[in-house]
């Protein structure tokens, strides 16, 4: 546009960009620098005790069984909860997109409510739902003659319990994105398939899924990024237990950094998390490309 000078643009950009630069970009770089030091509780009082130790923290991580446990748990959570929640989202979106259904708004609303509610509050609710004696979950299972399970007290069941709760909490978000994606698929495609006598499953596999591919890529990436940051659920429901079976990467980072003040070590955990998310995103892009 004419007469719209770059100087005015800089004026408009200055507040937001300086805030992002000072309180986001600088901390990212600083975190990397800290991860190369032995910054600990003594350094907190006197910065001059900090020593540069190169990649030692990362080497130490490699030999730290607790870190491997946290890594394994987080992968278990992400690799099970992401596909599950995406599948439920897609299923719900297809149901709500069906022309047979009226009052869509009400159903959509009830599926969506968990998304906006406070994670800490619902994690507390679910902690009682999973109560071995009085919880709704075991009551529900008792209808089918299933014996009570100590959901959060059993190392085998604690992570599945957290996964189930996460799927419940999150599927509504991706459902909305899928509904938008479904509405963009032209009706003609389905009509043509009908003429050729395709059944529901065939239409789903050869029209719905391919047409939704870009949406699915986007949804998988944001879901994966979000799930790798698992923290509040185990913090509130299990404190990482039992037997560290729900300890997550972020929780381990939090404990090392803000409970024991091993900030150098904690920063290296944060960077490994970043690295994993980065690689995960790249893989998703690659997979999507080769699928085409």
């Amino acid at each position: 546009m004419k007469n719209f000078s770059a100087r005015a643009a800089y004026f408009f950009l200055a507040p937001a960009l300086s805030a992002i630069f000072i309180f986001f970009f600088i901390p990212v770089i600083a975190a990397f620098v800290i991860s190369l030091t032995d910054f600990d509780i003594y350094a907190l009082g006197d910065y001059s005790t900090v020593r540069f130790i190169g990649l030692s923290n990362y080497v130490e991580l490699f030999d730290d069984p607790l870190f491997w446990t946290a890594l394994k748990n987080t992968f278990y959570y992400v690799l099970v909860a992401s596909p599950l929640s995406i599948a439920v989202s897609l299923g719900a979106a297809m149901l709500l997109n069906s022309k047979l259904v009226k009052l869509k708004g009400i159903f959509r609303l009830s599926y969506f409510i968990p998304v906006v509610t406070t994670l800490v509050a619902v994690a507390i609710v679910w902690r009682f739902i999973y109560h071995p004696k009085f919880g709704i979950m075991n009551y529900f299972l008792s209808w089918f003659n299933i014996n009570p399970v100590d959901w959060l007290g059993d190392p085998v069941w604690a992570m599945p319990a957290i996964i189930l709760m996460s799927v419940w909490k999150n599927f509504g978000y991706n459902m909305i994105i899928f509904i938008a994606g479904l509405q963009n698929i032209s009706e003609d495609l389905y009509e043509a398939a009908d003429m050729e006598g395709a059944n529901g499953l065939q239409k789903f596999r050869s029209i719905t899924l391919p047409m939704l591919a870009p949406t699915t890529l986007f949804v998988s990436i944001i879901t994966m990024i979000g799930f790798f940051q698992l923290f509040a659920e185990p913090y509130v429901m299990t404190q990482g237990g039992p037997l560290n079976s729900t300890l997550s990467i972020v929780q381990y980072m939090y404990q090392e950094g803000f409970r024991w003040w091993n900030m150098g070590y904690s920063a290296s955990i944060a960077f490994v998390l970043f690295f994993i998310i980065f690689i995960g995103t790249l893989i998703q892009f690659k997979l999507q490309k080769s699928a085409r």
């Binding site: 986001f24 149901l95 009682f128």
Partner: protein, 269 residues
Amino acid sequence: MKKIFLYTFLIITSLVTLVPFIWMLAASFMPDGDASVFPPTFIPGPFTITQYQVLFERLNVARNFFNSLFLSITVTFISLFFNSMAGYAFAKYKFKGKNQLFNILLSSMIIPSQVTMLPLFLMLKSIGLINTYMAIIIPGLANIFGIFLIRQYVMSIPDSLLEAAKMDGATDFQIYRRVIIPLATPILVTLAIFTFLGTWNDFLWPLIALTDNSMYTLPVSLANLMGEHTKDPELMMAGSVITIIPVIIVFLVLQKYYVRGIMMGSVKE
């Protein structure tokens, strides 16, 4: 036939989704011990507001409620102001390095915020801002997703409108204030809900940056209470109700804008 099956399925799954909230609400009005029974009940036998009284009178939850509300509103307004100016500049101005700058911002959205928390903590600690409201406001001043949303929307406003205003002698800031802001109101409302809910629901950073019960936001206070009241479902459910009600109200009133935000955020460039 197919229709009946479909509706039954939809109704059952909706109810299952809502059951945790129904039980939460019911248990919050029960006297101590009534929620720890088998089979679980969904209607309070004797109906009581004791749990809420305990929370407000003894545990001082009103203060935490105020902290959450004050911080969510403040962060929302400031970031809306900062993000809208930046989004406008990216949408309508030409300047050197614009595309590169925008791409750097977009790609850095992949960096998890946990990475910044340690240095941010040290930074704020060194200037004495840990355990103050500023500790929450400062990292929320501006955010990349917000700038992106506003840029997308403002790009659809015709240039001719802005040029006409310029011809009439309006300054750049007046155009932002009198033309862009009114026209971009729908997206500003969308972003406002996202920011409000995001700040209200946030947990990890407030847990780190606030160290005193009187400064805690509701989620932090609730998690803290949980440590001492693992055997008091009724009290904890009342706390959860207090934490959740405001976000549900905000969402119900403005859900149209919220849903639009999710869809816009998912549009690929």
